[in-house]
């Protein structure tokens, strides 16, 4: 929690949504209700996510794990290498705890399992924003 509060002092928190399902992406975008949160991009796979992250410089990323082309674990690894201060919320349907632990080890900051309620989503985002 040490670097989080400083990342958005006085400006909008930039959110990048990464999920291969269009429905989930829209759901996250619509369900979050933060005034100081701005969705700067949505990506459907790891490669798109890295490209978008390079261009949009997000503070916060919601990350699916099972995606085509480049999966979430690999994407987290590269994202953290590229932008060490970025905060990553893994949102995954994988019940497998080993994958969650793996994601945390690679640098994820939070974990939310699908299906989730709006309240759970907002709480998880809030935890990483403030």
């Amino acid at each position: 929690m040490s670097s989080a509060p400083d990342t958005h002092a006085g400006r909008m928190v930039r959110l990048l949504i990464v999920d291969d399902s269009n429905i989930v992406r829209r759901r996250i975008e619509r369900s979050q209700h933060f005034d100081d949160l701005e969705v700067v991009g949505t990506a459907a796979n790891g490669i798109e996510a890295l490209e978008l992250a390079r261009r949009t410089d997000p503070d916060l990323v919601t990350m699916d794990l099972t995606m085509p082309q480049m999966d979430g674990i690999e994407c987290i690894t590269q994202l953290v290498r590229m932008k060490p201060e970025v905060r990553i919320l893994v949102i995954s349907a994988l019940a497998d705890k080993a994958t969650a632990v793996e994601a945390m080890e690679r640098g994820a900051n939070g974990f939310l399992s699908k299906p989730f309620t709006d309240r759970q989503l907002n709480e998880a985002i809030a935890e990483l924003m403030y």
Partner: protein, 698 residues
């Protein structure tokens, strides 16, 4: 921590009290010593002053004695020398008193002044050294110097008589003053000693109190320690602390020993605790997770949600040289210190019974669901159909019993028994699932599983069949239950005002019911396998009653095969430019030689090569035998017992029982069965049945 603070305070207090005691005792001793010295000096002075008091009287008497001797002309020498001694004694004592600075000076000064007046008077008396008498033959008289001496003595006698009282009083005053001084010093000494004793008593009391408090503190600490030990010995969870090297601390709860069957936890790495108990993947995940707990990103809630050890299946020694599976629940709580995470508190609980209970509950729930489903499907189906099925099933069970009772001694006989059982069970499963009686179908399926397992076993004996018998008993009980429910439902339907008159009349199951059964099954299969197809039936009403049962069995089996193997999925059909819904067609017709049953589907057809591969896989053929088969013979493989192309068993197909049952039933009626196919286009079964006698038809 609280205890050690009080302990420190108490130590500081004890040290302070000791110091105060030492200082006070030192002061008491020094002041006491000085007072004692003073008192000793005062006592000496007092003695001297008392002595001095006697001198004026003594000197006065000695002067009178001297004068009387002179009067009587007696010898004066010794009196004179006594006087001299007195005067010099007085002088020396007085001088010694004068040297004491702390004496009452007014009395001493007064005495000194008085004594000084004595000096000129006494001096000529003391200084006289001549012979006072002059002797003649007859008498003695005072000599000339004697007369002068007499005059001096007389004067001194008078002076002493006049002044000795005053001098005595002055000297007495000195004495009194000295007495007062000594008394006051003694009082001071007494006071000092009292104060000293009081201080010692107070400090002693304080020390006693501190000692008492310390004993109380120690007792409390001991009790707290004992309580901690009791808690650790009694608590049902295993508790321990992990340090930053992921090693277990020196203290753990008794339950931990019971859970892990060991006692050497101190310093044990967490990884070692789980090694050999869980898979290497789980161990790796657990190790990573433990490391994450020390990181700054590890919030309690987050870590709880990804805890991979929340329900850990471990295999442990059961104490009887065997292993058993237990379920453990690990919880982790971070213990924060001033410099971040200090320890991680781990609790381990054995949740085996609750896991098993929840599984049992789930099973009970599923069984309740299936019973409900069964009731619903029974409500939807014709009770007569169900009754007919129950009769068939009862007959089937009787047959099964008969098979089980047959003596068997060798592998061949056992195999034959098992094959018979498998066929009966398969038929029962097919019919019950066609009627949507899934609880029965599932039981039959489980029994088939058990038979399948026994079939793979080459070393069989009678007692291997025991579990099968138990399960069969359970099936029988279930069937009785279903029968009872059917009777009640029938009664319910008959009593209801909207009851159909047809339901009132007893009716044997006929071609119409068969058609309904098949359509229901087709519907169910279509939904279960996500394949769209339509079943069309022709001429079933022409089926003579004695063939109806066999025709039903055959059609059910072929319909299942068509749904599972024949009809393709939507995607495959679209890709093959076929109609989206598959077509399955059954036709019964009279022919010259008797009857013919045609069954065809426009599905994937049969591939001789796949059939051969499957036969090799099932060890029905060797690879060489398979290679030597022509296409026709390859197709005939599907009528072999135990044959299936499916690699996994489902409720509807895959066991390899099926077409052999159909073939056997057909042969039993003296009929023939044939198959033709065009891969990718269709599969067609043709069953020829002999004619029946007219009387039977009527």
């Amino acid at each position: 921590m609280l205890l050690s603070d009080t302990d420190r305070n108490r130590r500081v207090l004890t040290a302070a009290a000791g110091t105060v005691l030492a200082v006070v005792m030192g002061l008491v001793l020094i002041i006491g010593f000085r007072l004692a010295t003073q008192i000793r000096a005062s006592v000496g002075n007092l003695q001297r002053a008392s002595e001095l008091q006697t001198y004026p009287e003594l000197i006065s008497q000695q002067l009178t004695a001297l004068r009387q001797r002179l009067d009587t002309l007696e010898y004066t020498g010794h009196v004179h020398s006594e006087l001299s001694a007195s005067v010099s004694g007085f002088n020396s004592d007085l001088a010694s008193l004068q040297r004491q600075t702390d004496l009452d000076s007014s009395a001493l000064a007064g005495a000194t002044v008085l004594w000084r007046n004595y000096t000129p008077v006494l001096a000529p008396v003391l200084a006289y050294a001549g012979e006072p008498y002059s002797d003649s033959a007859t008498n003695s008289t005072l000599s000339r110097s004697g007369r002068a001496f007499y005059a001096h003595v007389r004067r001194a006698e008078l002076f002493a008589a006049a002044n000795s009282t005053a001098l005595h009083d002055q000297l007495a005053a000195i004495s009194t003053s000295l007495q007062a001084q000594t008394a006051s010093a003694a009082a001071r000494l007494r006071l000092l000693l009292s104060a000293g004793v009081l201080t010692v008593l107070l400090l002693g009391a304080a020390a006693a109190y501190l000692q008492l408090a310390r004993a109380r503190g120690e007792r409390a600490a001991r009790e707290a320690q004992e309580q901690t030990r009791d808690i650790l010995a009694t608590v049902r969870e295993g508790f321990f602390l992990l340090d930053a090297d992921y090693r277990i601390g020196a203290v753990w709860s008794q339950a931990l020993s019971q859970i892990f069957g060991r006692n050497d936890f101190a310093g044990l790495a967490f990884e070692e605790l789980l090694r050999d108990k869980v898979s290497s993947e789980t161990l790796a995940t657990a190790t990573k997770f433990i490391k994450l707990l020390w990181g700054e990103r590890a919030h309690e809630n987050l870590m709880k949600s990804i805890n991979p050890l929340g329900q850990l299946e471990v295999s442990v020694d059961n104490g009887r040289n065997g292993k058993e599976t237990r379920f453990l629940q690990f919880d982790f709580h971070r213990v924060m210190g001033p410099k971040g995470v200090k320890h991680v508190l781990c609790s381990v609980g054995d949740i085996t019974s609750s896991v098993l209970l929840s599984r049992e509950l789930q099973e009970a729930q599923e069984s309740a669901h299936s019973q409900l489903d069964m009731m619903v499907s029974m409500l939807h189906s014709d009770p007569l159909q169900i009754s007919a099925f129950l009769e068939t099933a009862a007959a089937g069970l009787k047959h099964i019993n008969a098979i089980l009772k047959e003596p068997a001694r060798n592998h061949g006989e056992f195999s034959k028994k098992l094959a018979g059982l498998a066929r009966e069970l398969h038929a029962m499963k097919g019919e019950s699932s066609a009627l949507n009686l899934m609880s029965i179908a599932q039981r039959a399926h489980q029994l088939e599983d058990m038979v399948g397992e026994l079939t793979g076993n080459t070393d069989l004996s009678g007692k291997d069949f025991l579990p099968l018998v138990l399960k069969l008993d359970e099936l029988l009980a279930h069937l009785n239950g279903v029968r009872e429910m059917t009777l009640r439902l029938t009664a319910l339907k008959e009593n209801s005002p909207t009851a159909q008159s047809s339901a009132l009349a007893p009716r044997a199951s006929g071609p119409a019911e068969l058609a309904t059964t098949l359509q229901t099954l087709a519907h169910k299969l279509s939904a279960e396998h996500h394949k769209a197809f339509a079943l069309t039936l022709h001429g079933l009403e022409d089926c003579p009653p004695q063939y109806l049962s066999t025709v039903k069995d055959c059609l059910i089996q072929m319909l299942r095969n068509a749904a599972v193997h024949g009809i393709e999925t939507d995607e495959v059909r679209r890709a093959g430019a076929k109609t989206e819904a598959g077509q399955v067609r059954a036709e019964f017709r009279r022919v010259e030689s008797g009857f013919e049953l045609l069954f065809e589907d426009d599905g994937a057809g049969l591939s001789p090569e796949s059939l051969k591969e499957a036969a090799v896989r099932k060890s029905i053929l060797t690879a060489q035998q398979a290679a030597a088969l022509d296409n026709r013979s390859a197709l005939a493989l599907i009528f072999k017992p135990g044959f299936s192309t499916r690699t996994e068993v489902t409720m509807d197909a895959g066991r390899g029982t099926g077409m052999d049952v159909v073939a056997k039933a057909v042969y039993g009626l003296g009929g023939k069965i044939g198959v033709s196919t065009n891969p990718g286009r269709f599969t067609r079964f043709k069953i020829a049945l002999p004619a029946v006698s007219e009387s039977a038809v009527a």
